[in-house]
Symmetry: C2
Subunit: 192 residues, 2 copies
DNA sequence: GCAAGTCAATACGCGAAAGTATGGATGCTA
DNA sequence: TAGCATCCATACTTTCGCGTATTGACTTGC
């Protein structure tokens, strides 16, 4: 029967700790990832933690690696098969605007770029995503440099959007206003 | 003669601590603002600090208030007198791209939105700046909602640009490439 | 059913940083 | 130059979080 909530009360594995770490990062940021705090969340003490991981940094490393491997790729994969580049971009924009939740970890990591573990990770991920954008723009007929610049602009707008919306809570828009905003972004950043 | 460098070796005032705090924030972020670390930078011990301020939070509050009052306003003030709205926007974009240094504090604060002192401050500042943009766009002939949306987009692009460029160091562009990028942004976000 | 392996609890050491207590040094003013 | 206010140093105390050491308990293979 295995009670549905988090109180499984079974023993934990390294995976459980990694997933819990990612949740905590999404909610409160990288700096809030403390061993004893996470242990409390998982219903154990840190005696358990140090059996699975050597240090806190090791957990962070594992959690970040998991994120880069799993969660991150799902994003682009969904829209990648769309043949028409304009429609692919439009759908990507719409998805990002609609499903903000999966982007919370990304936003949290964005605020932890000081950390030596996070910086190279984000450099890789951001580069990949910008390459994805640049390719799509190129396929719409833009020349090479224009496509690159537009990709940079679009990605910067994405990053800023995350900060302003998720973290800062600005601008506070109604559902209709928000849809209109997304439509405006698509009109402005995707060539007709 | 008063040796030119920072080793003034005179006694300090609350202002000195506030300015030092802002420097430290710009360089290493809000979380790096520690009492003893800052005291070392200023060549004194924390015995001095606790004479001028009751707590660390009090210093942060004062430093942030000073920033909101002084540094922040200088930005927009420079371009505000430009009568033609398009030229005003173009000049603003160019300035932001050229003089990244004054934006380092803003970028640092952007990464500290968790902090209860920082959040409302940034909400105010960001709102003011977006209003400034919206007004300029409105004056170019856009209707009200379009101008608002474009202002939001432009501001998000600015915020993302700061993160990607200042903090992440991406993309690494040559001087020419960078100029071309700025030109592209201006072409894309400012109506002809 | 008993050893080895796996997971967890408790108690402790340690360093970083905030804040306190107190006394000393320096400068301004009468 | 006496005296007061201002500024700073030193030595604490407290808190928090990482990491270690030790022991206990449950599970699994043989």
């Amino acid at each position: 029967m295995e009670a549905a909530s988090k109180q499984e009360r079974t023993r934990l594995s390294a995976d459980d700790w990694e997933l819990g770490a990612l949740e905590l990062i999404a909610e409160q940021g990288v700096s809030a990832l403390a061993v004893e705090a996470l242990a409390r969340r998982l219903g154990v003490t840190k005696g358990s933690f140090y059996w699975h991981f050597r240090t806190r940094e090791a957990l962070l490393k594992a959690a970040l690696a998991r994120w880069e491997r799993d969660d991150d790729r799902a994003l682009v994969a969904d829209v990648d098969p769309i043949p028409d580049p304009r429609e692919r971009l439009r759908e990507l924009f719409r998805r990002v605007a609609r499903e903000v939740q999966p982007h919370r970890i990304y936003a949290a990591l964005l605020k932890a770029l000081d950390h030596p573990q996070v910086l190279p990770l984000m450099a890789r991920v951001s580069q990949r995503r910008m390459d994805f954008l640049a390719l799509a723009y190129r396929q719409t007929g833009m020349d090479r440099t224009t496509a690159l610049n537009r990709a940079r602009l679009a990605y910067a707008a994405y990053v800023g959007f995350l900060q302003l919306n998720l973290t800062l809570g600005l601008p506070k828009l109604s559902h209709e206003e928000f849809d209109a905003y997304v439509a405006h972004v698509i009109d402005t950043l995707i060539p007709a």
